[in-house]
Symmetry: C2
Subunit: 357 residues, 2 copies
């Protein structure tokens, strides 16, 4: 029942996932390398749904973790598979499926490279309908799925550990990758789960949503229409500003990038986007409350149609860029999810009440 | 024409200046030591106005600079005088007056110790009607008075330098005091000026305002009235919350403390105060815009009447505390002053439009 993804699908998914990544989810350029790697391998990527999984099926979550800026400097495309294989060896039976942790240029495509090489389908599901700062902001965590064993891998080493709760696992993971032996990023496998857990604890349709969004962007560009308007319409959001980058700050540390992106338009209007990997708070300088708060989407792209993440702001060099704000999926606005996001929104400087776009 | 300050005046000024300090301006406990030192010296402090200065008169600005937390650990009370004397030696003629840089528990009293020992009046004027994060937020800077020579002093060394603009002087000052030879704080003398400059470039009535506010607090306590209500009324402000400290974070670095103070009341309401030495943004967790932005006043005291700064949160240990927000003086709301505050408000995480309490 699984669907085979075409090259166009892969490119649409890359673009859509980068937009949904809302600044995070890994660099667009890394996603491009991963798509190229899949095409070069000539092994198909098949997309399945959690509903198709049966009693003996199982999967784990695969991706990359850490500082997107570090990943942009070079990320071994095979480390996700190394981590997947090592986690599978402790699971007792082969994983029949693999699942992305989130929507994002790298983290949506990375498990596809695993799926292609392992010859198993990737699930059209994920832990979140956007990129998330910590694994505590995933549906897996909110549904109480046990994280279980975790494997971190780079080209030269693997670290396997268990740490109990999602919060402790996230903190341990960041500590390991920023402890000196890793380079602030790593390939990742965790949350081994059976079919029932995958069906109960994941958000479905994420990859297909990315594909549709990417297709909307491609269709607009092919028709000579405004790609920013097309993306905003597809997300049911609005364009907050179109302008140039007036300031950008990115600080790498503890396996996370914290950043500020300031866009100014010709009328002197100014929008500031505060991020921790992902974009967390968007401010208009002429308003006394934010324009958008995570988990709602704060999306960046160039006005000529190139999505970019905070780890590859060079894609915006010398170009007009747009900031789009849009409501996130309903499942991402549940009170428990908002509560999981509040601490990171606060660490981005907003200590007020949450409200939706 | 100068007025001699009584012991009660000194104590009222200490309390009032700490409240106006809005979290900054140096530790209350340091202010107490300074008042005790003045009383022990039995040399009177005389208060004069800039208007009383005549053609040959001159003054400089005296105080302490740096991390209030560092100052709370021990601050040599004589370093301000050392700095004053060294700056005077380059001025060509003796300073006839001395002026505080800002309102605050330590920085309003510190120059009084210099005035008492030197036998000259202290001016009832300052650079700001509150404590300020940088010297760029003083009236001296906004009126374009040249900063001139700067002397930094501690018990063992003095550094004299000139750096041109107020912004460059501030940055140089912070770099020197956090460079390793100072302990993140220092006695300070700068902005040597003649009578005309003092009359044009300072805000007058600051010390008398602190005295009146401190007297209102004392009178309320003596009459068994609510001291928080008395302070709020005297400042024409409002009580934002009364509760207990739910969280406090203070981070010292680069000659500045950055901090967060979270107060929770019995109804579960929560107020977060973000500071950089001084309190810059107050948030209610149930509102989507801040309750107050600097330079408006975000004032902390215990409900039994003890003012405290961010450098002596131990004064609030185990006590109910109040956060009061109040409009700052009109001179502090001029567009140039708001513009000078905006960068520090932004570094505190608020990237929206300024608005008054």
């Amino acid at each position: 029942m699984s669907t085979q993804l075409s090259d166009t699908d892969l490119e649409d998914i890359l673009n859509g996932a980068c937009l949904y990544g809302a600044g995070g989810g890994g660099p667009y350029t890394l996603g491009q390398s991963l798509v190229a790697d899949i095409k070069a391998g000539k092994k198909p990527v098949r997309l399945a749904t959690p509903a198709e999984m049966t009693g003996t099926d199982s999967c784990c979550v695969s991706g990359g973790v850490g500082s997107p800026s570090a990943a942009a400097k070079g990320f071994d495309l095979h480390t996700a598979r190394t981590a997947f294989d090592q986690l599978a060896s402790t699971w007792g039976r082969p994983f029949t499926h693999v699942m992305p942790i989130e929507l994002g240029a790298a983290n949506t495509i990375l498990p596809m490279t695993v799926a292609a090489v392992e010859g198993i389908p990737i699930l059209d599901a994920a832990g979140a309908y956007r990129a998330v700062p910590q694994i505590t902001q995933t549906a897996f965590a909110l549904h109480g799925l046990p994280v279980g064993g975790v494997v971190l891998a780079n080209a030269t080493q693997q670290v396997a550990f268990t740490a109990g709760s999602a919060a402790d696992t996230d903190a341990t993971m960041r500590a390991i990758i920023s402890g000196g032996t890793f380079t602030d990023d790593a390939g990742l496998a965790l949350w081994a789960m059976d079919a029932a857990a995958a069906q109960r604890g994941s958000l479905t349709g994420t990859t297909e949503s990315a594909r549709r969004l990417g297709a909307a962007l491609r269709t607009a560009l092919q028709a000579g229409q405004d790609p920013v308007a097309a993306v905003a319409a597809s997300l049911q959001g609005r364009v907050l500003i179109k302008g140039t980058v007036a300031d950008e700050q990115q600080q790498m540390g503890e396996g996370t990038d914290t950043g500020l992106l300031v866009i100014k338009d010709e009328a002197g209007r100014e929008v500031s986007v505060v991020s921790q990997n992902e974009n967390l708070v968007a401010w208009s300088a002429d308003s006394t409350r934010p324009a958008a708060l995570a988990p709602d989407l704060i999306v960046t792209m160039t006005v000529d149609g190139q999505p970019f993440s905070n780890a590859d702001l060079q894609l915006a060099d010398g170009k007009q860029v747009a900031v789009i704000v849009a409501p996130t999926a309903a499942a991402m606005r549940e009170p428990a999810m908002i509560a999981a996001f509040l601490p990171v929104i606060r660490s981005a400087g907003y200590y007020g009440a949450w409200f939706g776009v």
